[in-house]
Symmetry: C2
Subunit: 338 residues, 2 copies
């Protein structure tokens, strides 16, 4: 089969790979309908995260079940399924409390930028759509695998909902879908922080009521202006830098909630400042599995169209172009069709 | 009148001071029934926090209203009242959301280690007991002014309650009262971290079900042993050092809650570790005013006896001894009677 492999920084090649096989009786093999490039794939692509050797890439996936292990019960061959970046048993105490991405048996999932992939713990990890989705829904279902689920978790962690003002720091795919999530969860006022016209437009289409182009202290001041001087009730942090985290904390009112889902690179939070900010802080790797059944329903009912974050569609064979476009910020997010 | 003044590190003197007067129509003057020395008073006493000049000390207080400004409506001369370390209007949007210690009009309160003191924003700050409490209840009512209210907030921030396991980091007055709060809030299992026999005893009397004498990584391992390897649902951090904060975060299960009420001195939280811990983090200066009516009821009904944290009772004139005993850790908390 064909699959994308990172050989060295900047060097992604689509090549012939061994097809994956069932290794454990809880595994499933799926034939991918679509995959995509994640912001986090750019860390090794840029050489910031070291790789030990050639690495098959991709951890966002939708596809059709081709084969299942002997112990798989809840998905069947032929089902159209969606999973996420951590496989989880969905039965342990941590999973049952809604934190499947910290499942006591969690396993990383990889090699999704390919024609076929192996998904461990298939019963706990995969959600079937119930019928074959029409092709135009595939991008939205793929978005649910990571960026929608992550933006949704950010909004939930920030307690976005009716009667609460929401600010979103970060206008990447996750931030934009955080806007969508906040509105779906009932927030009437959602302030998107962005200075890129195309992303501002998408944020507005997803339901942002205000666009804040200022950054840093000026951005915080603008959020306060828009919230009677108090700050937002809920702030979604979808970047993961020190500046973005502090911007999120400063833009939140005392007693408000910061939901942070940007992977925190080189972030150190000053204790005294956090203490006197009086905010709630929650986040981490999104437990996408918690939200998947609901998100799949909303997509199948055409209530939301998160697939619009994919502004570049390419065949899998042109994966290298997809990485380049995202690395150079010419694309928000690239979808690959095997 | 007589009052305690810090002149320099280690130099507390009780001396003649001008009696306080009404400065704003929202002020009240109270005659103190009791005051006490706070752990935070030790920062300037030890010279770690600089003072500009002689500083009247004390911010925990109970007493009888002697005089009120023209605009004070909810307390009357002769009422026995309790307030806290921040004066708050209790009407602004932040107060109404339960964060009175971040009130938009908040003012610090000081000079409580004296015979009389001025309390700003009396209507929003003071809670009357409704009748003169019997003298043996005075220590417990005084505890409500700060250490009980702070331990209670820690327990609430950590979401201590029925069905949740609770661990408490810190065996000072706040930590011990965090144990009491967690039990009052319905937690069946409360693990107190302490290696001092007298404090272990008090923790047990306040409802701790387990005592953990280990610290650091060993303490975390012990909490995990006691919680099926997962960590506690709720951890109250009542110290404020880097070690204590990290111990609290590591002892909490994914999806669990850390309530931190130790003033965070020189704390820097590593973003990546916090991210993957999956904990909720909330804390800060306790909005004691939110809890005071309930706490006063529980004390007046003799349901709780938080005044037991005062293991040294002295007349105000011997304030210097009280500071020395706390500085040398011979006393958990010293009560002063004017």
């Amino acid at each position: 089969m064909r699959g994308a492999v990172l050989h060295a920084p900047g060097d992604v090649r689509v090549e012939d790979l061994d097809a994956p096989r069932i290794l454990a009786p809880t595994d499933a093999i799926i034939r991918l309908a679509a995959a995509c490039v994640c912001g986090s794939d750019l860390w090794p692509y840029r050489g910031i995260e070291k790789i030990d050797g050639p690495r098959p890439m991709g951890h966002e996936y939708v596809g059709v079940v081709e084969e299942i292990g002997d112990e798989v019960r809840t998905v069947s061959v032929g089902d159209f399924v969606i999973g996420s970046f951590f496989a989880s048993d969905n039965t342990c105490e941590i999973c049952r409390s809604g934190y499947q991405s910290s499942c006591v048996h969690r396993e990383g999932v990889g090699g999704a930028q390919a024609q076929h992939m192996r998904v461990p713990l298939a019963d706990g990890t995969l959600v079937a759509t119930g019928g074959m989705p029409s092709d135009d829904l595939v991008p939205s279902l793929l978005a649910a695998s990571d960026v929608l689920g992550t933006g949704w978790f950010g909004a939930v962690a920030a307690q976005a909902g009716p009667g609460r003002t929401v600010a979103v720091v970060g206008d990447g795919a996750v931030g934009l879908l955080g806007v969508l999530a906040a509105r779906q969860l009932g927030a009437e006022r959602v302030m998107a922080m962005s200075r890129h016209a195309a992303r501002q437009k998408l944020a507005t289409d997803f339901g942002a009521t205000d666009i804040v182009a200022e950054r840093g202290a000026d951005g915080v001041a603008r959020i306060k202006d828009l919230t009677d001087g108090l700050g937002a009730h809920s702030v979604i942090e979808a970047v993961g830098t020190q500046e973005a985290m502090m911007q999120a904390i400063h833009a939140t009112r005392p007693g408000g909630h910061v939901g942070y889902v940007g992977v925190a690179h080189d972030v150190q939070l000053p204790g005294m400042e956090l203490f006197f900010s009086h905010v709630h802080l929650h986040g981490g790797p999104a437990p996408v599995r918690r939200f998947l059944p609901d998100l799949v329903d909303r997509i199948m009912n055409r209530q939301i169209d998160p697939g619009r974050v994919f502004d570049l569609h390419l065949p899998l064979e042109r994966a290298a172009e997809a990485y380049r476009a995202m690395d150079e910020r010419r694309a928000v997010k690239a979808l690959l069709r095997p």
